[in-house]
Symmetry: C2
Subunit: 369 residues, 2 copies
């Protein structure tokens, strides 16, 4: 159902091709986040126009509403959300931790009350796979245990061990025609991470993800761990860094051999008025854009830039609370992430990834905002 081929490397950075039942995904790739079977503010057609060929959708949210049975009845997530390309679903474990009420974790799974209506729910590895099977994603994520940043080592060890046992239960419960990725835990403890990589690499996962990053730990600690753990992930399978991140984080992680990314930053920051461009950030409400007739970025193919919407007009819409601007800015940022990934792939193919990426990082470090 899932095949993956590394087509070129440049130091640790890789150029790859992931093939799914819903088309090919060129890696390194960024997956927009369609939590409730929609990328906030952006239609599926527009998400596709950013170059994205895989979305991540959320098992926890869709399990609660509208329910996986309804989505299955309507033909699965691809038909429901009118997204013809690949879909990853996460397992819901992270949300059970962060959103659910009265959560009790046991070897069996996560027992909790729905944050919407208080209904009692039990998210076990088997239930996570059953729900993802009904949703019909191309790639299901195993249920894992993700301790918050700064957790003591004993807790990280327990999380790693339970995640491994749940990995085996998830693989045993996998749906036909669905790829499954394992999730490496271990916080910023490199030794623990490496031993967990070894354990999960022995299981027949279609790819491995790094969970438990960007969960509150200092960013330099994440970079340090990534520099060792990224290249240690099995080279023949896709490597996915979950929930990361800013454009700079992504370039650094690509340099450490990561292939797949997802993050709410492009859409959430857009809704907060923060835009990404090659020249650095734009905070659209700033007075400096009051009479600025330029588009957000020359050459960008998003609806706002292509349509010639000036920064002054976008600022006006933003300050007046017009909902159109939330979409236009979200679309712009997703286009930027799409262009970022395409440029990273080109750079790996050319063999100059490291100098190219470092020039960008240096430029953005000085960005005036």
């Amino acid at each position: 159902m899932i095949s993956f081929r590394v087509e070129a490397t440049c130091d640790n950075a890789r150029l790859g091709l992931l093939t799914t039942l819903h088309g090919e995904v060129r890696t390194p790739a960024f997956m927009p986040v369609g939590t409730q079977a929609v990328v906030k503010g952006v239609s599926s057609e527009e998400v596709g126009q950013t170059g994205a060929r895989m979305q991540i959708m959320n098992t926890y949210h869709l399990w609660l509403r509208p329910g996986p049975e309804l989505i299955a009845e309507l033909g699965g997530l691809h038909a429901f959300a009118r997204w013809p390309h690949a879909i990853v679903t996460d397992s819901g474990g992270f949300q059970a931790f962060s959103l659910a009420k009265n959560m009790r974790a046991s070897e069996q799974g996560f027992e909790f009350a729905s944050h919407l209506d208080g209904r009692k729910m039990m998210l076990s590895p088997e239930e996570a796979m059953r729900v993802q099977g009904l949703l019909g994603s191309d790639i299901a994520m195993q249920l894992d245990v993700c301790p918050p940043g700064g957790s003591p080592r004993a807790e990280l060890v327990k999380a790693v061990e339970r995640t491994t046992r749940w990995a085996e239960r998830c693989l045993a419960a996998r749906a036909p025609k669905q790829g499954v990725f394992g999730i490496v835990q271990g916080g910023t403890d490199v030794e623990l991470r490496l031993s967990h990589v070894d354990e999960l690499a022995r299981l027949p996962f279609d790819g491995l993800a790094l969970g438990g990053f960007s969960v509150g730990e200092p960013i330099p600690d994440m970079y340090r761990a990534l520099s060792v753990v990224g290249p240690a992930l099995p080279s023949g399978r896709p490597r996915y860094l979950m929930g990361v991140g800013m454009p700079a984080d992504i370039l650094i992680a690509v340099g450490h051999g990561i292939d797949l990314f997802d993050c709410v930053i492009p859409t959430r920051n857009a809704r907060n008025g923060q835009l990404f461009t090659w020249g650095g950030k734009i905070v659209i409400k700033n007075a400096r854009y009051r009479a600025d007739p330029r588009p957000l970025e020359e050459g960008c193919e998003c609806a706002a830039c292509r349509g010639g919407y000036s920064r002054a007009y976008l600022r006006h819409l933003y300050l007046q609370g017009e909902i159109l601007v939330l979409r236009l800015l979200s679309e712009h940022n997703l286009h930027f992430y799409g262009r970022l990934m395409a440029a990273a792939r080109d750079s790996v193919a050319r063999g100059d990834f490291s100098p190219w990426a470092h020039a960008k990082l240096a430029l953005w470090a000085d960005s005036p905002g």
Copy 2:
């Protein structure tokens, strides 16, 4: 700057062609409302795709934010909002009445405090024309006095008389290359309306509007007045019914000879989950649409219908508060209004407007919602 030609009639209904410096508008036409230089939730390109060739934008709002001087500096409303077609601006009088604080009306104009920051403002006929000149709309509306529905006759008479005096002041202050429409007042008092039509028809306005309808009076009273006043408006100039209305209201008014309409209903009702179709209304949150795989309406060219978004999916997005759905539903309703006006024009051209419209009205009266 403005020319108008009646191309066919069918009883009192008219087929017309309004020519502006920003293109032609086939009438009867519906103007989407772009209060703050944007139709809520919908991009200008998408508004154009609904068939709309004229928008109405709001002098009061744009005067306060971002200010007409800024818009003029950026090339006027057409350039600012990236809307290449025609634009009407209203005068701001209605909003000074309904939104402003501490409003004091005098022969000079409306003195009030901005509802945004309390700033003291003075909206005189001359200021309304100055602001609209800076905005650069194709058609400016005169400043008028619009009493609420149910006002006593003495108040209606005073409003009519002041509106006539302001009509002359507005015409004297008109900007070059801008059409100006007068506004007939008089509530549901047919005699008063007819005498005001006579007075304003003598002035060199490019068209006449009916203000003071849909301001709280019983709808049958509006219909009764329209049936007399509509046909009495000068036949060689465009006739505009301000702020009306539901699809049924529009068909009835077309039957009484009205050419132009504007209303927030298609977009506001969409944001409240109410959709229009030829078969009647759809209230998208209703449980009956829970697993409905059909689009809102077969054959509709809006993004949701064309993209195959099911009612079930739209209901899911609506119930989850996803902002995408506000746009999709707004676009659908504007497409419906566009199709409604196109069908009305076709029917006038064919000569069967009255039976066609009455069949629609009978169908909608029985609409299950």
